[in-house]
């Protein structure tokens, strides 16, 4: 019985210590000031001067915005927006990269089929584009990689138009329009025929593409 009492006392003491630490932590967590308050006290600039400075900075930031038509791609939602300024000219349902991995049977190479994110520019525009099948297309189909470059050429699979944005990535048409809205491509952005024609005609060479 005396042993039990001692044990209970230890438990109570530990619980009190725990509560005390929790209280201190709670106080520290909820009673803190912003580091920008400290800056405020040091700042000698008047409110009007700050207001003017912010207006100048806003203009400077706006100067980075693209002048003409640009393209925004939401790769998660599989949506493409053709935009000018803040206005959306066209919204299209697209198919972006599947995120799948393909390994070369030799084990030397690996491809991840993601649509690249970041800022790009329209580098090339092609009508009735031909697809030069890369190595992964043959490996995925379980076929031998041809030595003759002409055997890589395939007609019709990229639709009527293609806009290249570097490293072999294109905004192009698709034979699989029923899969638009799903992540099924090998990294390119597949677009339906009607939308593709409008995007092709509107986006000039050099037009910016933002992919996230």
């Amino acid at each position: 019985m005396p042993g039990n009492n001692k044990f209970i006392k230890i438990i109570i003491a530990l619980f009190i210590i725990f509560l005390a630490v929790e209280s201190v932590g709670y106080y520290l967590g909820t009673n803190t000031t912003s580091p920008d308050n400290k800056i405020k006290t040091k700042h000698k600039t008047s409110l009007n001067a700050l207001k003017v400075k912010n207006t100048v900075l806003k203009r400077k930031l706006a100067s980075f915005n693209p002048d003409g038509i640009y393209i925004v791609v939401d790769s998660g939602m599989n949506r493409l927006y053709l935009k000018k300024g803040n206005k959306t000219i066209r919204e299209a349902i697209v198919s972006c990269g599947s995120g799948n991995i393909l390994k070369d049977p030799s084990g030397e190479r690996q491809w991840i089929f993601d649509t690249p994110v970041g800022e790009y520019k329209v580098k090339s525009k092609r009508t009735s584009p031909l697809w030069t099948k890369p190595d992964w297309a043959f490996i995925e189909d379980g076929e031998a990689i041809p030595k003759d470059p002409n055997k890589r050429i395939e007609k019709g699979v990229l639709g009527d138009y293609a806009l290249g944005f570097g490293n072999g990535y294109f905004i192009h048409g698709t034979l699989y329009s029923r899969l638009l809205g799903r992540n099924v491509s090998h990294g390119c952005i597949r677009v339906g025929d009607k939308d593709l024609k409008i995007i092709y005609n509107a986006a000039e060479l050099g037009a910016r593409i933002y992919i996230f």
Partner: protein, 206 residues
Amino acid sequence: MMFRLLSIILVLVSIQAHAGDNIGENYIKQNRLLEEEIKLSRKPVIYFVVNIDENKIVIKSRGINLKELNFQDSGCWGRPVSVNTYQVKKKSTFIKPGRETITPKDDKEKNTFELEALELKDMPSRYTIALEGGATLFVRPLTVGFVSAIGNAYYSSVKYITRPLSMVWNTLKGIPYTAFDIVLNENDARAFYWSLSEDSTVIVYN
């Protein structure tokens, strides 16, 4: 009578001075945000503005708003951070979404089609994003239905036990500790996880 009038004037003057302080603080914060954004806008990158004051996350590039995700709720625990650029250090979740590995097709499989892809629906809606400098974003979905209610109740109970302990521990070690709780609707929480990678840049405005 004179005393009352004097009191009213004093109260009005102090309110005015306090309002001026707040306006000044907002201008300074806005100034810092704009300066950080201008630095990032010089580069061809996608960046994120986590705006705790205005309850939204804005995905941006070159100063353009690419997408806005509105908070359903938010909170801050610990010392608010300075309006600054922070690099994402770690993105962690209970079960990380995995990629499928394609096996090359044989002749029999060539005519069959099976959709295997990593999509938005596979992304988690409950995760943490650790930023360089000690701040952490705790993202969770809005409570809809039984499962998310259980998850959020568990999260809240654990939070109130572990946060004060972490706060004491970090204070003793001299490390800053700030936790931002962000509640988004499920799709927006997934979209944020999708867009943000471990080398992304975030500006926190709080």
